[in-house]
Amino acid sequence: MSNPTQADVLIIGGGIMGASTAFFLRQRGVSVILLERWLVGQQASGVNFGNVRRQGRFLSQLPLANRAHRVWLRLPELLGEDAELVRAGHLRCAYGQEGADRMEVYAREARDYGLNLELLSTAAMRSRYPFLGPEVIAGSLSAEDGHANPRLAAPAFGRAAARAGAHIHENTEVKSLSKDGVDFRAVCADGREFTAPVMLVSSGAWGAKMSAQFNEPVPLVVRGPQMAVTEPMPYIVGPSIGVAATTLEETLYFRQVKRGNIVMGGCGRSNSTTEPRTAPVLPEHTLTQFKQMARLAPVVTKLNIIRVWSGVEGYMPDDLPVMGPSATTPGLHYAFGFCGAGFQIGPGVGETMAELIATGATDTPIAPFSIARYATPAQAPVAQAAA
């Protein structure tokens, strides 16, 4: 079997961005080498909450999210598996009138991007979701959204890409990146070298270290989100549910998998680093989640949690990713720093980046995510995170 060290495109990082880009590049007949430090989909792509939601995203991300949505619906056809996608909707909850008002504004604006949200009154919430707490006074439902299993999605893209001919090297740590003449060169810890005229950096929280090697430093910070899963209970929940809050502490989200366990996340992030393979879990955040769950869905608090976990995620100051061509180096592309909201959008990023790399253009607007926004001292204002 051939094991080339040269391809059309070199992808650095095998999360959902890199793996799906590799897959869609192969669909276009482009040869691909993907280098992954550990295993495909093991970092942020594999340990996140599993929200497949467009609702609540910045409006500038909605075209990409809609594109991703269409890919998610085609997973069985594309990959031969569905990554446990449950299209039971994404429900945002408001605790007060102010939150309800914000959801209404968002629903109005999102409609222009083709995202239809159903605003639910207090009475409607009570009757449809009787397990929610009395503080919840309004909701916004994105009926087409839902949730999936993050442990399965990125590896499924990776395996499908490999079946389609991509050369995926796991347990391959890149020590340095450079461009020699026309080719990019990745030198690995084990001494192997790979080259290609085009390169995509999709290495999540590690992305800033990579972009810095091309004189494009970005102010990425590393954070660990925090999840927990309960023992199973009868299946009653349906949609993926989150609180539309203005503070991180109140921003709890949860979903129920088909076999009954409740997965929850939110309420805080640890100061993670890219050094250890696994991010630390802060017991204090778990306790905050317990308190917040008592407000949001008291029925869940009859249960025990059986496992907690965190991940290594890259956050940008404006909460927008770094995506698109390099501003300094022709042939270089980026797709990293998705600020804890990359899972749903991932397959759309992959399809878009593959299109951009293969054809030189895409109709999906990605200009707001350009790394060039950090090229000047004036930086974009810090925006609010959305659940």
Partner: protein, 458 residues
């Protein structure tokens, strides 16, 4: 604020002896224990006001059990004892403990982890039926509640506990259908030189077998379990096995005590960041620990069966050694001669331990032969076939990856009872050495944690 003190986790033989050393040095350690009473598993004390005698509860170990209990009773007002308290997490030099839904964050200058062991289990088709217990659980039922697990019990597996618990059941008047050991007589004979390191224990083991036989209990070695019969409604009704010669047999019973010696309970050592090593002889992972009880992490000490399966007596020594190491590292004067003597004693225990490993080998090949429809992970109801599928079709050759794809080890027990066998199945299906499969990473909480848990307001 006062200097953080020393915390001992576990009030079994290792924890009690560690506490004793620390108190002798003038310290007042915190002793965290999940149990309602001290004693750990092997010296588990019956509930207050129960009145069975030491002799009937602990047999030949009555004097040792009583000594450990008396020592602990004498320590009670010199330590900060917290029974019915779960150590559920460790973060940045703090132990997180929960009791009655109140959680507290305890800083420590030294942590002595005496977390003990649980049964090491190998699935057999039908082991998910009600009526199947681990050997340890069978012993607890008897010791703590005076109950047998059934009216007609089969003891199945291998290891010293198989004969010890069967003997205890016999003495308690229970009806034993058979004692079926997967190890072969030649294993035991080959192990004799090492087992002679502790002649009293060897003698005891042999006497158990003789007593069982004398009472008319069939005691067979070299058997291969085939399946446990029964149904979800009626539970266990029988056991099919092959004898050493390969002939098939079926035995009627309504309960099965199952176990293949022990596995260390390592979740806390893992959460503390301790390094682990693969042990080829037993085909499992142990935390790295020196003879003196030092782990790879400064100020974290490991003792007892949670670090190395040396049994209760070895645990007592290890507890003392770990406490003396902690004291030395905290700047207290310790007696080097005593440490050396305890170390020599441990070397003898270690020789015996290796004899047991040789005499009662973990039946790794059974895992490879399990039919596809056998449940491996009982918490999540995942079969051997499903685990093999993620290895063969999804390329999951590593334990955590196979867990992520298949859910084996993802349930309430966090892999305590399926990880060993699961790893064997993965290694066989992937055609890689067991060591390469790795081990499941520990994740908090150590045991299920209620949503009602709130922080202690101090």
């Amino acid at each position: 604020m006062a200097q953080p003190g020393v915390i001992i986790i576990g009030a079994g033989p290792a924890g009690v002896r560690a506490a004793e050393e620390l108190v002798a040095a003038g310290l007042r350690p915190i002793v965290i224990d999940e149990g309602r009473r001290d004693g750990g598993q092997i010296y588990r004390r019956q509930p207050e006001h129960f009145t069975r005698s030491y002799e009937s509860l602990y047999g030949s170990e009555a004097a040792r059990a009583q000594a450990v209990h008396r020592s602990f009773d004498a320590l009670r007002d010199k330590i900060d004892y917290r029974p019915e308290t779960l150590a559920w997490n460790i973060s940045e030099g703090h132990l997180h403990v929960v009791s009655d839904h109140r959680t507290e964050k305890l800083p420590y200058s030294a942590l002595v982890v005496c977390s003990g062991a649980t049964d090491r289990l190998m699935p057999v088709p039908g082991w998910e039926l009600s009526g199947v217990f681990s050997l340890g659980a069978s012993q607890i039922a008897l010791k703590s509640q005076g109950c047998s697990i059934g009216g007609r019990v089969v003891f199945l597996g291998s290891g010293p506990l198989l004969y010890l618990v069967a003997m205890q059941y016999l003495k308690a008047g229970a009806n034993i259908a058979a004692v079926l050991d997967t190890s072969r007589l030649r294993h035991q004979i080959a192990a004799l030189p090492k087992l002679l390191a502790r002649p009293r224990l060897l003698q005891q083991g042999l006497s158990y077998i003789a007593a069982l036989r004398k009472a008319g209990v069939p005691v067979l070695s070299g058997i291969t379990p085939v399946s446990i019969g029964g149904s979800a409604e009626e539970g266990v009704t029988g056991l099919s096995y092959r004898d050493a010669g390969g002939a098939a047999h079926t035995l009627a019973c309504d309960a099965i005590a199952l176990g293949y010696h022990l596995r260390p309970e390592t979740q806390l050592a893992d959460l503390a960041g301790c390094a682990f090593r693969y042990d080829d002889e037993t085909r499992q992972w142990f935390p790295q620990v020196s003879m003196e009880g030092r782990s790879s992490v400064a100020n974290v000490y490991l003792a007892g069966d949670g670090a190395r399966i040396l049994g209760a007596e070895g645990a007592e020594n290890a507890g003392r050694l770990a406490a003396l190491s902690a004291l030395a590292d905290l700047g207290h004067a310790t007696d080097a001669g005593r440490v050396a003597a305890l170390g020599r004693e441990q070397a003898r225990m270690e020789s015996f331990r290796r004899g047991l490993v040789q005499a009662f080998p973990w039946p790794a090949t059974q895992a490879a032969a399990l039919p596809d429809d056998t449940i491996v992970c009982r918490c999540e109801c995942i079969t051997a076939g499903e685990l093999r599928r993620v290895v063969n079709d999804m390329g999951a050759h590593e334990a955590n990856r196979a867990k992520a794809f298949s859910r084996v080890g993802m349930g309430r027990c966090q892999g305590r009872y399926c990880a060993n066998a699961g790893a064997e199945i993965i290694a066989h299906a992937a055609g890689v050495p067991l060591e390469r499969v790795g081990r499941l990473r520990g994740q908090a909480p150590v045991k299920p944690l209620s949503f009602r848990t709130r922080e202690e307001q101090s």
